[in-house]
Amino acid sequence: MKLLVCVSKTPDTTAKISFTDDGSEFNAAGVTYIMNPYDEWYALVRAVELMEKGGGTVTVINVGDASNDQTIRKGLAIGATDAVRVNANPKSALYIAKQIAEHAKDGNYDIIFCGKESIDYNGSEVGAMVAEFLDLPFISFGNKFEIENNTATIEREIEGGFEKCQVATPFVVSSAKGMAAQRIPNMMGIMKAKKKPFVVVEPVEFPDYSTPVSYSLPAKKTGVKLVDPENMDELVRLLNEEAKVI
């Protein structure tokens, strides 16, 4: 099978989030970047597992500038066969999805994997957009994924539980926790990655309809009010009378 995995680069989960003084841009100084965990741990690993079992190829695609190359190489080290970077500095999900769809439309991919969401913009949008551009079914938040004879059985997260569904290839799926277990690339993988095909293509023109224009941090908590551990009636009273939440 021919598999495509969409990977994005995000700030590390422990990164301190700050913005330029006028709030117009993310302050990248001192921030380390990682591959978006949903893309790496679940989408990519599951795709590589499928290839290891059934043959085929796993292509990773990223829409971004050259600073993303390290992230993409990590994808190759984990086991993807080749990589594509669409050379752009994207500002909106729709723009990203358009570029991915442009690449995929003549690629005859059986399955396009993406992550549940990017941990920076948290939109959960790109996968559904790629699916719509290509007029393909889309299953979101898959946490278990099996495939036999081109029909996949996917368990997807819904509010308060899960739903098991079935869909035939080609389709797009977004991956959540449970679909696979994280893999750490080994030395051999890292060496091999250097020799794998990695192409950089230019983007197609597409407008940005929706972009962030300013950022702000939440107001700091004014400080914790400590309650005597022997006096839980007092805590209940505070939650009722002061905080008004019960």
Partner: protein
């Protein structure tokens, strides 16, 4: 005109749907025109949505809506939006809404904001809307400049408000594709508490619990409050609790009115998913636990002593 897709589950509107209608009503007041609501498939008493601000409710009947296929649903909502000439389309930022928003953005050639927290403000033809970014660590204001805009509303941000009276429900016919996704099985947790993303009260516990056999005191506290239970990631990873209870950056992101963190240290990845809760209560025996910095109320003590006392106090309060 603002078109709201009101999501139903087994024919019943969820709280998130009522929030979306209220949001659509408020958005219509800002952008002009009516707030029109779309319902799909068999739903009970859709006319009641008028109470939350719908000036009209449309229903599209099709047996396919009994199972969720994003292609089918997006075609229905997208074609209805075109037919009714909607300028803004509002969805709920639920698992269903998240699978639909991107599709509608493409279909309607529209700019989108996923998980909006505020009623838009207008600047010429541009709508300004805020949403959480960096897993709840910050807020961003987005400008949407396209002709048509699609917005999904984050849950627990805009409380449903009764502003009107029930309205008539009209049938609408649009072209629909055949569904390609088949739902084989739906598994919902039993019990009558709200699912985590919608819950207003959450009782969450971490590794400080020592083992799954001790969870009874957490369940008792949750039951006394009518709260939903949650847990930290290592607790779900080691199988002490089911995965769907895992909250945080790589789990469910929540923002209830009240979040109890019991025996949870307050790692940055945990906080990322819960720090938008309105009120946070931390129970931890270590006064240096980082979670206290993010807390409104704190109890420094052994959870095995404190939690049962708290449950008693809640029961006493409820009985009074």
């Amino acid at each position: 005109m603002v078109l709201v897709f009101a999501e139903a589950s087994k024919g019943q509107f969820k709280k998130t749907a009522l929030e979306a209608v209220t949001y659509g009503y408020k958005t219509a007041q800002v952008v002009g025109g009516d707030c029109v609501v779309l319902t799909l498939g068999e739903v009970d008493d859709a006319g009641q949505l008028g109470k939350y601000g719908a000036s009209k409710v449309f229903n599209i009947a099709n047996a396919g809506f009994a199972e969720f296929d994003s292609q089918l649903f997006a075609a229905a909502i997208g074609n209805a939006a075109k037919e009714l000439r909607a300028k803004v389309v509002v969805l709920s930022h639920t698992s269903m809404g998240k699978a639909l928003l991107g599709r509608l953005a493409v279909r309607l050639n529209a700019g989108s904001v996923a998980g909006a927290k505020t009623v838009p403000s207008v600047d010429g033809n541009t709508l300004m809307v805020t949403k959480g970014v960096f897993s709840g660590k910050a807020t961003a204001e987005y400008a949407i400049s396209s002709e048509i805009k699609v917005i999904s509303l984050a849950s627990n941000e805009i409380p449903p408000e009764e502003t009107g009276t029930p309205v008539d429900v009209e049938n609408l016919n649009v072209d629909l594709p055949a569904p390609k996704v088949k739902v084989l099985e739906v598994n919902l947790q039993s019990g009558d508490t709200a699912p985590l993303p919608e819950a207003e009260l959450v009782v969450s516990a971490g590794r400080g619990m020592k083992g799954p056999e001790n969870w009874g005191i957490i369940e008792d506290l949750a039951a006394s409050l009518g709260a939903t239970t949650a847990c930290s990631r290592p607790v779900a990873d080691t199988g002490w609790r089911p995965h769907h209870e895992h909250v945080g950056q790589t789990g469910v992101a929540i923002k209830p009115n009240l979040y109890f963190a019991i025996g949870i240290s307050g790692a940055i990845q945990h906080l990322a998913g819960v720090n938008q809760s309105k009120v946070i209560v931390v129970i931890n025996k270590d006064p240096e636990a980082p979670f206290f910095k993010a807390a409104d109320y704190g109890v420094v003590g052994d959870l095995f002593d404190v939690v049962p006392l708290l449950t008693e106090a809640v029961k006493k309060f409820k009985a009074a």
